[in-house]
Amino acid sequence: MRFLRTFLRGLAKSWEFIRRDKKAMAGAIILFILLLISAFPSWFTPDNPTAYAYTPGIGLSWAHPLGTDSFGRDVFSQLMAGTRQSVMIALVVGFFCTILSVAIGVTAAYSGGVIDDVLSLGTDVILVIPTFPLVIVIAAYLKGASFWTVVFVLVITGWSYGARQLRVQALSLRNRDYLLAAKARGESSWYVICVELLPPMTSLIVANFLGAALYAIIAASGLQFVGLANVNTQAWGTMLYWAQNNEALPAGLPLWALAPGIMIAIFGSALALLNYAFDEVSNPALRPVAKKRRKKALA
């Protein structure tokens, strides 16, 4: 219970911070809109995204804001319908990567000794094995990987960077007085880790989540784009796959090929802006200087 409260307090602090930072706010608003679209895609899709119902290959028009593809499907509706899977892959991978990173990084730092040596070595080895080629090789054997397979592949390849960062920060906190005091009081390890060690690390954990999600959306879209994931689902990457395989650019249908990429870029930018802002929290030296000076001058 106590853990939940400190966790919520950490989140509240993050929110406080997002509200004050322009970059973070922009990221949060974009993220909110995309989440809304993922939750209720039908509110945003004027046409059936899978219906081969219209004149193929028309450009911008009132009836089809982004035109139709060469199968006669409405591009805008496909974009909206694809939002859910793309956003979900990123968030789910981000979530599981963060859990693994925290578990491994913090366990290593907190336990020390042989456990730390083994876990750090494992982390470092995974970290240096080239991720994207590995993802491609695994996906190649799994032909037409489903949503959860893609998630699985991206999580096992994506957690190591965060684990290393979190380990370093946990190490620097491990011997602080308040931690030693809690241990001396005879608190259990669980208590010390969850209530004393993790809360100060919230901003780094959030930054890790955002970084992993950013990695996931780009890697997952890349896999879908080259046809290594199930391409018969609705997602931005699979739209790119169909556009590329039907020569959308030479055929004069640039919107079909470019619009999904813009959506990925918008989503990615939202994550990157938030991440950049949270980087400034965990490293105060990076915070903008000009603003502070102005505030002081006003006061």
């Binding site: 070595l121 094995i129 080239p130 080629p133 695994i138 799994l142 650019l249 030296a285």
Partner: protein
């Protein structure tokens, strides 16, 4: 000395892990990919070659897994990667050596260029902290670095090739040209490399700008930089000779790592442009289920990255005594 032993030890462990991964991935996968490989080879290879492939992929089940594991290591260290199924009967190593120069040229040059340019811009941004240059540059590149780089490739094809007709759309050279060291052919190759190079550069540069800027901000606050300024040294000298050199050190590891990745090519950019490099080859191997080629490529890429990291660790230790005492 102790440091060197540690790094060599890590290199060996990482190599072993990568090789083992490469060995077990096809065995752990559902649907028995090995059977598919054997079917592709059926009737095309002599029995002894078949046996080597059985060892590499663990087919049939009549072979002890430990025996094949040892056999696999022996084959790998002697560079026996088998025969490509999609370019049958060309050995995998020959197929790779044809693609390698393309990736080395394109990605090698752009990686170095991106690092130099990005580092310089990042250093200047930190130096002019809070001015317009620093306020605009980092956020812009934060956003650009979130773009899927293959999509930047699609965009530049559409804009510069199909709409403006400035550059060719696909390939590494004109198909009909004779490949030789003539000015005409070299020019043709350069001509074809402009768009892929631009795509890689624009997406890679942001990371260097941001990390250099962040390193630089902490270094600029150090006493020796204040001291150098107080001595009345020219700002440019303080920027590059005092602050810049030290801020660069942590980035060297990243740079070495990205040099290792040069071997893998820019996989998706090469795919978008049909550029005949290693990345394009890897995806082609995947699409045509050429597993021996795919596995050899994965190993090659991994070994390149591991060696690059190893070299960078040693170089960093030589350049920066502070890192030597650490672990």
């Amino acid at each position: 000395m102790r440091f060197l032993v540690r790094r060599v030890g890590f290199l060996l462990i990482a190599l072993w892990a990568a090789l083992t991964l490469n060995f077990f991935i096809p065995r752990l996968m559902p649907g028995n990919p090995a059977e598919a490989i054997m079917a592709q080879y059926h009737g095309r290879l002599n029995p002894s070659s078949l046996k080597a492939i059985e060892a590499a992929f663990g087919v049939g089940g009549h072979q002890n897994i430990f025996v094949s594991y040892v056999q696999y290591f022996a084959d790998t260290f002697q560079g026996r990667f088998g025969i490509s199924t999609s370019y049958f009967p060309v050995p995998v190593t020959t197929v790779i050596s044809r693609a390698l120069p393309w990736s080395l040229g394109l990605v090698g040059v752009t990686t170095i260029l991106g690092f130099v340019l990005g580092t310089a811009l990042g250093a200047i941004a930190a130096w002019r902290r809070g001015r317009i240059f620093d306020n605009v540059l980092p956020p812009v590149f934060v956003i650009i670095s979130a773009f899927p780089y293959f999509w930047v490739g699609l965009l530049s094809i559409w804009l510069f090739s199909l709409t403006l007709n400035w550059f060719p759309t696909l390939g590494g050279f004109t198909e009909t040209a004779t490949q030789a060291w003539t000015w005409g052919f070299v020019g043709d190759v350069l001509w074809h490399s402009v768009l892929p190079a631009f795509t890689i550069l624009i997406t890679a540069i942001g990371g260097w700008i941001l990390t250099m800027r962040n390193n630089m901000i902490t270094v600029v606050a150090e006493d020796y930089v204040t001291m150098a300024k107080a001595k009345g040294l020219k700002p440019r000298r303080v920027l590059w000779q005092y602050a810049g050199r030290n801020a660069l050190l942590p980035n060297l590891t990243g740079f070495a790592m990205s040099l290792g990745f040069v071997i893998s090519g820019a996989i998706l950019v090469e795919y978008v442009f049909n550029y005949p490099g290693v990345g394009f080859l890897l995806l082609n191997a995947v699409n045509s289920e050429d597993y021996p080629l795919m596995q050899a490529l994965f190993l090659l890429i991994t070994v390149a990255v591991l060696l690059a990291i190893f070299v960078s660790d040693i170089a960093t230790a030589l350049l920066d005594p502070r890192t030597r005492s650490e672990r």
